[in-house]
Symmetry: C2
Subunit: 392 residues, 2 copies
């Protein structure tokens, strides 16, 4: 039996029952919205979490709805999950042909594997067509067209309700010999850090769904039928009202772990956070009511998430990670805490273990080569070790 | 011959001649200050950069001054460099006994290896004494005592010129059977992001040096002689005026690579930055004069460094990394640029390679499993691949 106390610090902890609860909640939400789910794996990057979603999805999703595949943010994720038995993997950011040979190698090795790539310009479609032709590929590559509904990160901007560029991209795919128009994909990342909470996230999500549905109807009127129309981030999956019938799927990712910025935006509550960075107190400074812990930016990631501090101390709601360096951080009193507990020196001594709840769990998880799995929060026994996909 | 164009993106680039210049400059500074140098390896984490410092140090340092050892921020660095032939390694943050067995294992395997550990409380000394006694260790462990000269991260606070706690810690070491007082160690991390530039950094560095020297004199008056008194961060190594004679060494780390926050604080200029994250443009958005690149927080680290943007585009001083997600970022015009060049769409097309200069190079380097080495900025040939130490 491996106990928490024997772990080196920093270590990445995962509470499995909380992950499962989070998956169940989002699957029920998909069922309530009457859509498929194509979960994004970028947050957890493990076969084990994907398996939980698959298992729970089989019980929860009805009437033919299902977990239709997964979404990856890197080619190494695509390789990792394809080799792990996943057959339907969508690469979620605009695809560049410098990655094509790795995708094709996978398709050649794994005959049942269907990669779906993402484009948001005619130029990208043309380059892909040329590259596929040069390689003598048979078997069309399915393409999602990325929509920008106002987030302005990636995608064809349809936020003003204009679909001319979208039309030209879809027509370029339709005209190509080597690609096939598969669907539309929108990601309302602007629901993150909604200071207006769930209501504001809901407005953004509703607008995204309405724009995507209108785009789908427009394309259908031209005889260009998307097989899939996907919307949604984790906050919007929580927040969105009933979806227009054109929307066929959602693709949230962060929900498996959640984090402090999701608490801040109202997507979840503190007990829903399923991961943390285990660390030890390595010095206590009573005179400034602070302590030094051995988890810094390399273990937590220095992502402010648009909120105060660099993380929170699990079980100590009045504390905040106030400053973060490369390998250490300073914890102290949160000046905005509603009630203040004991002085730091009365709570912690040298070697005390504290778990830091991250601002942005996708980033924190990425800093680690393995996750130490506990069944539930408060447990001391490490029941499993999961190995995430790393790098690109 | 491996060309830049064939690299997967994101990739971490290192310009070797720039690293060497940076090392030469800081070694000359140490020689000018008439002190030894104990370089911190946390930024580069490679045997290759340590070798450059060692080689150049032999030519530059005179009168018996030398590279006296290295400083590590993790035990895995200590293991990596000890196994790589380094015999004198200081662990730079307050040491906790949960790491002791790994240090002792190294000492047992490598008879010439001398670990130096860091303490900043009587409690830590006592715990270490007990743990060493329990393990029946012979051969004392050398201890640095960490000083806090106003940064308030770690160390014994001597910023008000009071040395009573310091005295009690050094006396506890002197009274112990298993530890030996080796020296004093101060790190003026508050010189980072000095908005007052070099002048303000110089004031902080002068104050740190004066306080450390006074502390050393105080201890000597009690018969407690530090063999080493070390000060300085990268900005202060650049900024400090002549050092008091009690100061025997400096221990900067970031200088090997530098970064945008060091440019901002006046420690270096843009051409001194020796590393960058190679990425490709994966979409161009003329309507908002922005482009999407395939390097996000997992490749660059989302560390603001207290400055605008999430990085800069090498060779394009009017551009800024404006927004950063997990795997992609948006580059666009820097609103504060003094002159504005061509529109983004006239500079970049799909697949254009851009190199992102990081806000904080220690963090960016940590995100990668290897560095692609070019001889100088602008080169296209990858002349070597270096493998840094990873994790903890």
């Amino acid at each position: 039996m491996v106990l928490l106390e024997t772990l080196q610090t920093p270590s990445f902890l995962l509470w499995r029952s909380v992950v499962r609860q989070n998956c169940v909640r989002v699957l029920k939400r998909a069922e309530q919205l009457k859509v498929n789910i194509r979960p994004h794996v970028k947050t957890h990057k493990t076969l084990e979490v994907s398996k939980i979603i698959q298992e729970e999805g089989e019980g929860i999703l009805q009437e033919g709805r299902k977990v239709v595949g997964i979404v990856a943010s890197t080619i190494s994720e695509m390789e990792f999950f394809a080799e792990g038995g996943h057959n339907d993997i969508t690469y979620a950011t605009p695809f560049h042909i410098s990655r094509l040979d790795r995708v094709l190698a996978l398709r050649h090795c794994l005959p049942s594997f269907v990669p779906r790539l993402m484009v948001d310009s005619v130029g990208a479609v043309e380059e892909l067509e040329t590259a596929l032709a040069e390689r003598g590929e048979t078997g069309k590559i399915h393409l999602f067209v990325k929509l920008d509904c106002g987030y302005h990160r990636a995608g064809i901007d349809i936020s003003e309700g204009k679909f001319d560029v979208l039309e030209s991209v879809v027509k370029a795919i339709a005209a190509g010999k080597h690609t096939e128009f598969f669907g539309l994909y929108a990601h309302s990342g602007n629901t993150y850090n909604c200071k207006g909470g769930v209501q504001e996230a809901a407005q953004i999500a509703d607008r995204e769904a309405e724009l995507s549905a209108t785009a789908a109807r427009y394309l259908k009127s031209l005889g260009l039928y998307p097989q899939a129309v996907g919307v949604g981030s984790t906050p919007s999956a929580t927040a969105v009202s009933p979806l227009p019938p054109e929307i066929t799927e959602i693709h949230p990712g962060n929900f498996v772990f959640y984090d402090l910025q999701q608490v801040d935006s109202g997507s979840c509550t503190l007990p829903d956070i399923a991961v943390g960075v285990l660390s030890r107190v390595v010095s206590v400074y009573p005179e400034r009511n602070e302590a030094l812990i051995d988890a810094g930016g390399t273990a937590v990631h220095k992502d402010s998430g648009g909120i105060s501090g660099w993380g929170r101390v699990d079980g100590h709601p009045d504390l905040l990670v106030k400053r973060m360096s490369q390998e250490v951080s300073v914890i102290g009193m949160d000046p905005s805490a509603s009630s203040v507990g004991l002085p730091i020196a009365d709570r912690f001594s040298l070697g005390s273990m504290v778990t830091i709840l991250p601002n942005h769990s996708c980033m924190s998880a990425c800093q680690h080569a393995q996750y130490s799995v506990l069944e539930k929060r408060g447990d001391r026994e490490v029941v499993d070790t999961w190995t995430p996909c790393k790098y690109w």
